[in-house]
């Protein structure tokens, strides 16, 4: 309990960052271990092209997981991000294939369309969950179906294709082997880190996750803070949709099935507590890397699909057990 009032009393969070470094070090070590393992046992793992591949492959999950971190920190969950991403992609896909616009305008239009679609879905999730104080699990499960249905409806269940060339360029552009789309994701991580650790808003999100009532009694508009967390999550789903489209040059209404679970896994493996109030977006970054490195490395090693799925499951469970001990250690 003492820890909770600390968080509220000390918005700069000096104490927190030391603990967060210790927490993240554990995940970082696990990641290093995996990298070491795959470097030794596979021929191509450290190949520059493969590193580029891994960075590309974790980008969408990382973007979704950044938004998910905000929601989980306030003690919520968002099951709708995969569907919202598909809906945003389809809306943007419709926009991008509109006749009568130049390539630059049309790309801008697509980005605005995708982000707006994500924003609206996230805002609705937040407003409904907070206004009636309902479990976000159920509300976002509803949104999962609404957004998926809307995506199928808008597109008539057809894949939308043939985007302008400039859009494809963005999806495959690299700077020194680092995919530009990954840099976008990284920028979002840094932005989220700044917001969560260096702004009053961010510190209060932690506070809400720890003790919502205390933050309310301190006179803060908890309602709007929670709405903001869900809206941020919806926004990231919109951004992920743009990356998805740029990378594959299609907008499919059945994209992103199950992506919400991967995003949640990245957040939890990254050490953010499912009950809220504890965790960091840097952990989420490492969590997304662990999932991506595992998926990549296990294929390189030649492990069968089914074994791969089992091992990914085992890693998630181990991460949560470690989180349990971390929480006990933190309380002492």
């Amino acid at each position: 309990m003492a820890e909770q009032s600390d968080v509220l009393a000390e918005p700069t969070g000096r104490d927190f960052s030391i603990r967060s470094i210790i927490n993240n070090a554990g995940i970082g070590l696990a990641l290093l271990g995996l990298i070491l393992f795959f470097s030794i046992f596979t021929e191509h793992f450290l190949n520059p092209n493969n590193i580029t591949n891994i960075l590309t492959q974790i980008t969408i999950n990382l973007i979704l997981a950044v938004g998910m971190t905000f929601v989980i920190l306030v003690g919520g969950i968002d099951l709708s991000v995969g569907s919202v991403m598909a809906f945003a992609a389809v809306v943007a896909g419709k926009a991008i294939t509109l006749p009568g616009f130049g390539p630059t305008e049309v790309i801008l239009l697509a980005c605005i369309a995708a982000v707006t679609a994500g924003f609206v879905c996230g805002l609705l999730n937040g407003l409904i969950t907070s206004y009636w104080a309902l479990p976000s699990f159920i509300i976002t499960l509803g949104m999962l179906n609404i957004a998926r249905g809307a995506a199928l409806h808008v597109s008539d269940a057809q894949t939308i294709y043939s985007f302008p060339f400039a859009f494809e360029e963005f999806g495959s552009a690299q700077i020194y082997g680092v995919p530009v789309v990954f840099l976008v994701a990284l920028a979002l991580v840094l932005l989220a880190w700044f917001v969560l650790n260096r702004t009053v808003f961010g510190r209060l999100l932690y506070g809400i996750g720890n003790n919502e009532e205390a933050v309310r009694l301190a006179g803060h508009p908890v309602f709007w803070y929670k709405v903001a967390a869900f809206t941020i999550c919806g926004l990231t789903a919109g951004i992920a949709a743009v990356v998805y489209m740029a990378r594959l040059n299609i907008a499919s209404p059945i994209a992103g099935i199950g992506f919400e679970l991967n995003a949640i896994a990245a957040v939890i493996i990254g050490g953010t507590s499912l009950s809220g109030g504890r965790g960091s977006v840097i952990g989420t970054l490492l969590g997304a890397f662990i999932i991506g490195v595992l998926a990549n490395g296990l294929i390189l090693i030649g492990l069968s699909d089914f074994m791969r799925q089992m091992i990914t499951g085992v890693v998630i469970i181990i991460a949560v057990i470690l989180d349990y001990y971390r929480a006990r250690y933190a309380k002492k």
Partner: protein, 306 residues
């Protein structure tokens, strides 16, 4: 209040009358499909609706599922159709074993059942003591057409990879077997075979990783076109123009890729016509035609660029 009650009774009896009149009038065909989120079934539904208007001598009641493996909803749909007393059920089963028993009940209720798209399991049919024809494409033969196109190009010793559909799905299995037939016939070397669950993004990821492990890959056989798009994108970002891709389904989005040579070939199984053709067959039986037997093969065609 009294008036309301009267109105309700009147409405019910009119509905009942209308229902029975309908039954005498036009035969009713219940169409049960898999996921309407899948372009393939969506197009099929459009085809069936057009067909209903064009023929005009039957009534179509169509239902689709939430997802590809939702056989519980399919069982409910079959039971609802039995209750409604439809004349024929035309079904693309979500599970080749689970659907056998409910369909047996439908047959016992005197309903003409036509099984299309995916064949019901032969052993399960034997166990339930029913004999039911299958109307549909030869997925294995179709996949072999695409695989052969690749095999002819690469010749013996060509190194290939297979990207599979959902493990456990019958059409995924058949297509994989068809690809493997080509591998055997042309003496190709199979480097890896993995699922990407029919999905573009996953195929992109999985194939990028396979390509890293096997940079000497020369050809890719992909079990559907959605995944083939992901594979083509992976090749583009790896800058590999030397690797040949074949797909399956001929969805509109791969049209440009076949045209400009980013894909060698795909297979068209004319899905749009498949439900309509099955309905024709069912109506033929209702009209007193002979019972369907064995495997009524529907056309498949290899689609190649120039």
């Amino acid at each position: 209040m009294k008036f309301m009650k009267f109105a309700a009774v009147a409405a019910t009896s009119i509905a009942l009358l209308a229902g029975s009149a309908n039954a005498d009038d036009k035969p009713v065909v219940g169409l049960i499909m898999k996921s309407l989120a899948n372009e393939f079934f969506q197009n099929m539904l459009e085809g069936a609706k057009e067909h209903e208007i064009k023929r005009g001598d039957y009534e179509l009641r169509a239902v689709g599922m939430q997802n590809e493996t939702d056989f519980e909803s399919q069982i409910n749909a079959v039971e609802n159709f039995i209750t409604q007393g439809v004349d024929a059920i035309v079904i693309a089963p979500a599970d080749s074993r689970a659907m056998v028993r409910p369909l047996k009940r439908a047959m016992e209720a005197g309903i003409v059942v036509v099984n299309f798209d995916v064949s019901l399991d032969a052993d399960a049919k034997k166990q339930q003591g029913i004999d039911l024809a299958f109307v549909g494409p030869d997925n294995r033969g179709g996949a072999k057409l695409a695989g052969d196109a690749l095999g002819e190009l690469l010749g013996a010793g060509g190194k290939v990879v297979i990207i599979e559909g959902n493990p456990g799905a019958d059409n995924a299995n058949e297509r994989r077997l068809g690809f493997e037939d080509s591998v055997k016939q042309f003496g190709l070397e199979l480097l890896d075979s993995r699922t990407a669950h029919w999905e573009t993004e996953e195929a992109n990821t999985v194939f990028s990783n396979i390509l890293t492990a096997h940079p000497d890959t020369q050809g890719v056989m992909v079990a559907n076109d959605s995944m083939a798009i992901g594979v083509v994108k992976a090749l583009e970002s790896a800058g590999r123009k030397d690797i040949v891709v074949v797909g399956f389904d001929n969805i509109p989005a791969v049209g440009p890729m076949i045209k400009d040579g980013r894909m060698l070939a795909t297979v068209d199984q004319f899905g749009q016509a498949m439900a309509a053709n099955s309905i024709d067959l069912a109506l033929g039986v209702i009209a007193g035609g002979p019972k369907l037997e064995g495997w009524v093969k529907t056309p498949i065609e290899l689609v190649k660029g120039n």
